[in-house]
Every structure is written in structure tokens, then in C-alpha cells.
Amino acid sequence: MITYATDENYNELTAEGVVLVDFFGEHCGPCKMLAKSLEELDDEFPFLNIVKVDTDKCPEQTGKFKISGIPDLYFYKDGKVLFHQPGMVDAEEIRSKLAEILY
């Protein structure tokens, strides 16, 4: 399931289970490419939680994570960041990281 976070509900959305967080920008080309890959992952693995954070609309979380470039991915398990992947990444790399974290 893909959910759009706000500064207020970010912690709640990332507190449980395996969560893939995507810090993105509306006018960022690579972010749009990554968005397609994330949609495909969501179609294939609907039990996965994907949280999208628009860096323009969530300044607090963007500042907290010191996001200096987008896209920027964080892999969570039960509220803890297990892996950080800055920059553009292909779907295969995301899948292999998810396999490690999910199972």
C-alpha cells in the first residue's frame, strides 16, 4: 500500500512492520522514474508499506533526516531504519534489499 506522509503522521506510519520510505520531490525526474518502480512493487507485494514523503510538504522530516538529494530511500523494520539508499536505484536492488528485510 502506498501512503503519503505528513510531518505529523510520519512516525506513526513507520512504527510497525516493514516500511519503505521514499523522500521525493514533485518536479524531480529521477523521483518520477522511481515512483513507477515503487508502484510496480506495490502491485506485486501489496502487503508492503510504502510511505512517500514530499520534501516540499514535509520540511520537518526532511530536515530531521538531513535530506540533501532526492530520491532518498529508507528501509524500516518495526520503527528502526535498517538501510539507507540515497539516489536513484533500480527496482531489482530494492527487491533484493526487501527480501533481506522482509524474510
Partner: protein, 285 residues
């Protein structure tokens, strides 16, 4: 630049497949069509498991991965375990069976399963989907969308083939030439790379190399530990100098000693791209 090459291999001697077949697989087109229809997808209970179904399983065994009261698995996705997922196809909801995994028995119960159904796309859905996409403004029908998907895919296949060949040509020349590296120069390039890595880690990741654990090194660089990473960077330094000598010798006819050390990061591989394009025959299927 005091490193030099005793004998530079000729990239034209590299043997490769000149004919490359291009084809956009139907599964890829289906996947792209789902971007249009995913907003209207529906789910239903799956009675008999097939590829793509999402099954909730109870797994009992003495292997940690295969021992869980409730694990979600997309059948035939390969994310959990390719071989095990194949054994799920044809099983019914509620069924209990024993599967063999790596020579060990796993008791499997299919608790439930969902299947996602995507509607047939129509022109109206296409128009809605492309409305905010500048590069698709000229598309208004399903057929036009499919044609674009195919042509983009084939374009990408061509680019991949050309860049793949360029990489092979570089590797061929680097491994078949006789290089002599200057220690001082290698040290300078290595130290530059090290400094770049330190600043990337600090600025992008908020990490310092000294404080990084082996796990962090592995996650960020693919190396098993710091020693291996530094060894890889030593090898990269040689490769950077050799690449510069190769490229500058072929493009502007410079001799190795005429190449400024700062030019090693300013390499133009266009001559290899042109060579690749001229020598690959693309066949669309």
C-alpha cells in the same frame, strides 16, 4: 603523467556478437498497462494458488525463515524463495502439506490468498493517466500508449547494447595492454578517490569512514570490510589511469606523458560509442 603503456591493445580486435535482436516482451507491456489501470484494480479470494497471488502461509520447520505463524508471499515472485514458491502453485486455500526445502521438511498451511484483477484499459483511462505527463502529451489511445512503451523499451535495449559493448571494449583494452604505473601518480589518484569517498560519506550519509562498521561498509560500497574496500580503490586507481591513457591516446593522439593527471576524470568515450553503433546490427523482432 608518468605512467605509460608499453603496448596498447587495439579495441577493434575484440570479438563480439554483431547482431542484436530487439524485442519488447508482452509481460513488460502488461506491467506498463497496469500503471494505467491500477487505480481500478479489485481483489478477490483465490481458491487455487497461481503465479501472482498473494498467499498468507503458516510455516512450521526448524529453519528460522520457514517457521512463522503468518507470512505473506507473492507466489512466483521469487522474493521469498523461488523453489518453494513453485511448490505453492496449484495448492488450495486451507490446504496443509509438507514441502521439502534444502533437504528439510516444512509443514505448510495455506491460510488465505488474494488475487488482484486489473480491468482492461480503455482510451479514457489512457488520457487520464498521461494528462500530467509532459512526454506523453501526444498519446490518447491504448494503442498509442502500447506503441510508445514498445519504442521506449527498444530504444533502451539499443542503448544498453551500445554501452555494454563499450564497457567490454574498455575492459578488453585494459586487460590486454601492457601498463607501467608510476607509484607517485597512483598514490595521488588513490588519495583523491579516498578524499572523494570521505566527503561523499559525510555529506550524503552523515558517516565517517573510521567509525563505519563492516555492515555499513557492505551496505554502502559492496565491499566486505574496510581493507577490501581500500584494495578495490587501489585497483580502481590503476584502472582510472589506464582508461585515461587509452582514451586520450585514441581521441587526441596524446602520449601518456602529455596527459595531465587532472585529465583522468575527463574521458570522452564517444569514439567507442561510435564504433559500437557502427558495428552492431539491430534486428527488431
Amino acid at each position: 603523467m608518468r605512467s605509460f603503456v608499453n603496448k596498447l591493445a587495439d579495441h577493434r580486435d575484440f570479438k563480439f556478437e554483431h547482431e542484436v535482436k530487439l524485442c519488447c516482451p508482452p509481460e513488460y507491456i502488461d506491467k506498463q498497462l497496469r500503471h494505467i489501470t491500477r487505480g481500478s484494480k479489485k481483489s478477490e479470494d483465490a481458491k487455487v494458488l497461481q503465479a501472482g497471488d498473494v498467499a498468507m502461509l503458516k510455516l512450521e520447520s526448524d529453519m528460522k525463515k520457514f517457521n512463522s505463524p503468518c507470512v505473506p508471499i507473492t507466489v512466483d515472485s521469487g522474493l521469498f524463495d523461488e523453489e518453494f514458491e513453485q511448490k505453492l502453485i496449484g495448492r488450495k486455500t486451507g490446504e496443509e502439506f509438507t514441502a521439502e526445502v534444502n533437504g528439510k521438511k516444512v509443514k505448510v498451511t495455506v491460510i488465505s490468498a488474494k488475487r488482484y484483477i486489473y480491468p482492461q484499459p480503455d482510451d479514457e483511462m489512457v488520457r487520464k493517466y498521461v494528462a500530467d505527463k509532459d512526454d506523453m502529451k501526444d498519446i490518447s489511445t491504448v494503442q498509442q500508449y502500447i506503441d510508445r512503451v514498445k519504442s521506449d523499451y527498444i530504444k533502451e535495449q539499443k542503448t544498453d547494447a551500445i554501452f555494454g559493448l563499450v564497457n567490454d571494449l574498455i575492459e578488453y583494452v585494459l586487460t590486454h595492454s601492457d601498463w607501467e604505473f608510476d607509484d607517485e601518480e597512483l598514490e595521488k589518484v588513490y588519495n583523491d578517490m579516498l578524499a572523494d569517498m570521505h566527503s561523499w560519506l559525510k555529506e550524503e550519509m552523515g558517516l565517517t569512514f573510521e567509525e563505519m562498521s563492516d555492515d555499513e561498509i557492505m551496505a554502502q560500497t559492496g565491499a566486505e570490510n574496510k581493507e577490501q574496500l581500500l584494495e578495490m580503490m587501489r585497483a580502481d586507481s590503476e584502472q582510472a589511469i589506464a582508461s585515461a591513457i587509452f582514451a586520450h591516446t585514441c581521441t587526441d593522439g596524446k602520449k601518456p606523458e602529455e596527459i595531465d593527471i587532472n585529465e583522468i576524470y575527463d574521458i570522452d568515450w564517444k569514439f567507442l560509442q561510435d564504433y559500437a553503433e557502427e558495428n552492431i546490427k539491430f534486428i527488431e523482432e
